[in-house]
């Protein structure tokens, strides 16, 4: 066990006029997750520390936050791999609900806007539709998204224009546009061709760096841009 020092941004809307930082020290194993340190604080020092969490191993997307200035899942980074004091803040660009919890409503609205579901009017065959391995690999990367918002809230274009669709919803659109079974590509491309669509992307790569699922987001956005320029629209 070692002593771990953290500096956490706190904000309780019922008490505080604005967010402030507070220092903590807890005993943890160096191989513990930052999430474990946060929960140790909540369990032993201050039960009011508030954050979202569930799976604990990087697959549910609950605990996206800024750790030492970079967006990460607190459950997917080990204490020994970050410098101390570990500075923890909520994701940037969303309204803060309390402490590390941000308001995700707008994020999910943008997700819904790109029609994130298979569009196919044909009657289904009795068994499965055929799809080659190559066709499946074409969009596999973007199926991995867990909607944690780490990418969108790391994007300077989103910070300066909150109406920008943002990398996460573009990733979702990509997942369907390049699925051989989908027929809604054109509708989605039209949406993304608008002012707040893919053209807001300045290829800064923050999103790729932030993605805990290692999705090559900039490449996905680039493929959509290319489609818009050369092919479909």
């Amino acid at each position: 066990m070692i002593k771990v020092h953290l500096k956490i941004q706190r904000y309780n809307p019922e008490k505080d006029s604005k967010p402030y930082f507070k220092d903590y020290a807890v005993e943890c194993e160096p191989t513990d997750r930052v999430l474990d340190a946060l929960l140790a604080i909540k369990g032993t020092l201050d039960g009011s520390l508030t954050l979202r969490k569930s799976c604990g191993h990087g697959v549910c997307g609950s605990d996206g936050m800024r750790i030492n200035g970079r967006n990460m899942l607190a459950c997917k980074v080990l204490i020994k791999n970050v410098s101390q004091p570990i500075v923890v803040e909520p994701l940037k660009g969303f309204k803060i609900v309390k402490d590390l919890v941000v308001d995700m409503k707008q994020f999910f609205e943008k997700y819904v806007a790109v029609k994130p579901y298979l569009i196919n009017q044909e009657t289904s065959p009795e068994k499965e539709r055929l799809q080659s391995q190559k066709q499946q690999e074409r969009f596999e990367d973007t199926t991995k998204c867990i909607l944690c918002a780490c990418c969108t809230t790391a994007c300077p274009s989103f910070w300066s224009d909150p109406n920008y669709a943002g990398p996460a919803s573009i990733v979702q659109a990509h997942r369907f546009i390049f699925d051989s079974r989908d027929q809604g590509g054109e509708e989605r491309l039209n949406l993304l061709n608008q002012k707040e669509g893919v053209w807001r992307c300045r290829t800064i790569f923050n999103c790729v760096e932030a993605c805990p699922r290692d999705i090559n987001i900039t490449k996905a956005i680039g493929e959509i841009k290319k489609d818009l320029l050369f092919k479909k629209i």
């Binding site: 309780n12 809307p13 019922e14 008490k15 191989t31 997750r33 909540k42 369990g43 032993t44 201050d46 039960g47 009011s48 508030t50 954050l51 979202r52 969490k53 569930s54 799976c55 604990g56 191993h57 990087g58 697959v59 549910c60 997307g61 609950s62 997917k76 080990l78 609900v97 309390k98 919890v101 995700m104 999910f108 819904v112 029609k115 994130p116 579901y117 298979l118 196919n120 289904s124 009795e126 068994k127 499965e128 539709r129 055929l130 799809q131 080659s132 391995q133 066709q135 499946q136 969009f139 596999e140 199926t143 991995k144 867990i146 909607l147 369907f176 699925d179 079974r181 989908d182 290692d214």
Partner: protein
């Protein structure tokens, strides 16, 4: 003023079971709302890795009858065979439907859904392993959860996200709705409904080492219990053999399905000794026990309580293509590379075979005669149909949540069409409101985290893979003590907005209740069957114990009753692999 909403159907839980039910309801044009304490896409269905079992026969000959046999044998003959028949037959259509809804399955060379081996799945009634698990890499559950959520959006299903359900409203044996706590605002809401489905998932957080999410605290089961509904077969809790050492994070059985093997400190493939026929692909209850035995006999690695999972012979290509997520977990959490390193693993608390008793239409049944409680349904891991009996086979939970999730949706739709709303009682929230106020008013009491830790350690040590009368009695005493101390906990967070400490308290209360029921059921069952292993009664005893436990909670404690197992084609036999 308390807010009152009215919907024909309320679905509690946004995991696979809840979403499939909601989809069926919305397609039947029933006014439906889904209430979930997590955003639906955060549900633990998304953590399922290895696959969903269905006899599609895309890679080799396979039949639903073989799947049925394996499921019944895997259950140690405690599963109800009428339900198993439905499970295995509808598995096939369900997987095709998922594909039609857009699920990106891995594909075979000829473009069909790819399949692989999994523990306990065999051909020709036990002759050898069969490729039955349909999969999308090792993130099958993620794809199922995403696909169903996508379709719910398409069908404009109404969601109340981050609404934590705290009670059921039942009067005169008719369910009339639920009470939920809005996490964001701290207000209670009443949802008046004709039909309510609980699809609230498992309760693995009873144990210290678990593959289960923090949110899996058995809320639905505990709420049912508090409303005088029994829980079935709670003594059967599955420990999955391959959890990451000390953390419990799951490494899917597909690791062994793809050819991975377990080794003790001598490098020996010890499963050959215990299950000469299917070796490392024996069902989970057996493999978990074998790991404990190896450790007990001094063959754990470095004399410690773990063994190795060896994937190194599979090659980089198979590991990175078919098991990419678990590769990432091993690299992230252990700093090891499965391509060249052996992986330390130990059994991890994984799955609740028991739950709220239902019939095959997901209607909750409340006694030994299977009498239906009108308007109340359960599906998924919180329910017990029972298709898993004493031990669930890998890939069968995803089938279960979907087959019976959809059946729940369909039977609720039918019920809603022929039923009127039953009136609400006045102020059904009084009890829960008082409880919340009590939590908030106390100060300088006991800490939630202390009690939770003591509970989880007790359950892990004394109610885990091996059990004895003495151990269970000790656990019972301890958990009773924790229950008393629970009355005295206090919160440091007194606020309304996003008071997650209050939710922790409610969840801990649920875990304590479920632990008591689990222990009492395990203490009474003086035999060994499936995941329930009593060292003092090491043999299965069909004469006395081929029956389901029904546990209810009353003032005096846990009361136990029993009901018959449905046996059709497969007569109980000795279980050998």
């Amino acid at each position: 003023m308390i807010k009152i909403h009215q919907f024909e159907a309320i679905v509690v839980g946004g995991g696979g079971a809840g979403l499939y039910a909601a989809l069926a309801l919305s397609q039947a044009k029933v006014q439906t709302a889904v209430l979930s304490k997590l955003y639906p896409t955060r549900s633990h269905t998304g953590a399922a890795q290895g696959g969903i079992g269905a006899a599609l026969a895309n890679k080799e000959e396979d039949r639903p009858e073989w799947h049925m046999f394996d499921t019944v044998k895997g259950s140690d003959y405690l599963a109800d065979q009428d339900a198993v028949e439905i499970l295995c037959k509808e598995a096939v259509t369900t997987v095709y439907e998922l594909e039609h809804l857009g699920l990106p399955f891995n594909r075979t060379q000829d473009g069909r859904i790819d399949q692989r081996r999994f523990g306990g799945h065999t051909k020709e009634f036990g002759k050898g392993p069969v490729q039955r698990a349909c999969f999308a890499a090792d993130r099958t559950g993620h794809m199922i959860l995403q696909t169903l959520y996508q379709q719910c959006i398409k069908n404009e299903v109404k969601f109340f996200d981050e609404f934590h359900v705290v009670d059921l409203i039942i009067e005169e044996q008719i369910c009339r709705g639920v009470i939920a706590y809005s996490i964001e605002t701290g207000e209670l809401h009443i949802f008046h409904a004709k039909a309510v489905l609980f699809a609230t998932g498992g309760s693995g957080r009873m144990f210290k080492i678990t593959s289960n999410a923090h949110a899996l605290t058995g809320d639905g089961m505990a709420i049912a219990l508090r409303n005088k509904i029994p829980l079935e077969d709670m003594e059967f809790f599955q420990f999955h053999p391959t959890g990451i050492y000390k953390m419990g994070i799951l490494l899917t059985e597909a690791c062994r399905g793809e050819g991975g093997i377990l080794r003790n400190k001598n490098g020996e493939r010890f499963m050959e000794r215990y299950a000469p026929n299917i070796k490392d692909l024996a069902p989970r209850d057996i493999v978990s026990r074998c790991i404990y035995l190896e450790v007990r006999d001094g063959r754990g690695i470095d004399g410690k309580d773990y063994v190795h999972l060896d994937l190194t012979h599979l090659g980089k290509e198979v590991i990175e293509k078919k098991l990419p997520d678990i590769t990432d977990f091993v690299r992230t959490y252990m700093g090891l590379d499965p391509v060249k390193d052996l992986i330390p693993i130990q059994p991890t608390a994984h799955y609740s075979m028991g739950g709220i008793p239902t019939n095959v239409n997901a209607e909750v049944v409340w006694d030994e005669k299977n009498s239906v409680l009108k308007g109340f349904y359960a599906a998924g891991e919180c329910a017990c149909v029972s298709v898993h009996g004493g031990n669930r086979l890998g890939t069968n939970s995803l089938v279960d949540i979907l087959v019976f999730g959809r059946r729940a949706g369909l039977s609720m739709a039918e019920y809603c069409k022929k039923t009127e709303f039953s009136p609400l009682p006045s102020n059904p929230q009084t009890k829960i409101q008082a409880q919340i106020e009590q939590f908030k008013s106390k100060s300088n009491g006991e800490k939630i985290s202390t009690l939770r830790q003591e509970l989880q350690e007790t359950m892990m040590d004394l109610v885990g893979v091996f059990r004895t009368e003495a151990g269970l009695k000790k656990a019972q005493e301890k958990v009773r003590e924790l229950k008393k101390r629970f009355q005295n906990i206090s919160l440091s967070d007194k606020s309304q907005v996003f008071n997650s400490e209050l939710l922790d308290a409610l969840e801990l209360g649920n875990l304590i209740t479920l632990s008591l029921v689990t222990i009492a059921s395990a203490l009474a069952r003086e035999e060994s069957r499936g995941a329930h292993y009593r060292e003092d009664y090491p043999k299965r005893n069909d004469q006395n114990w081929l029956k389901h436990t029904l546990a209810t909670l009353s003032e005096i404690g846990v009361e136990l009753k029993y009901k018959n197992v449905v046996i059709k084609n497969f007569q109980p036999q000795e279980r050998k692999y």
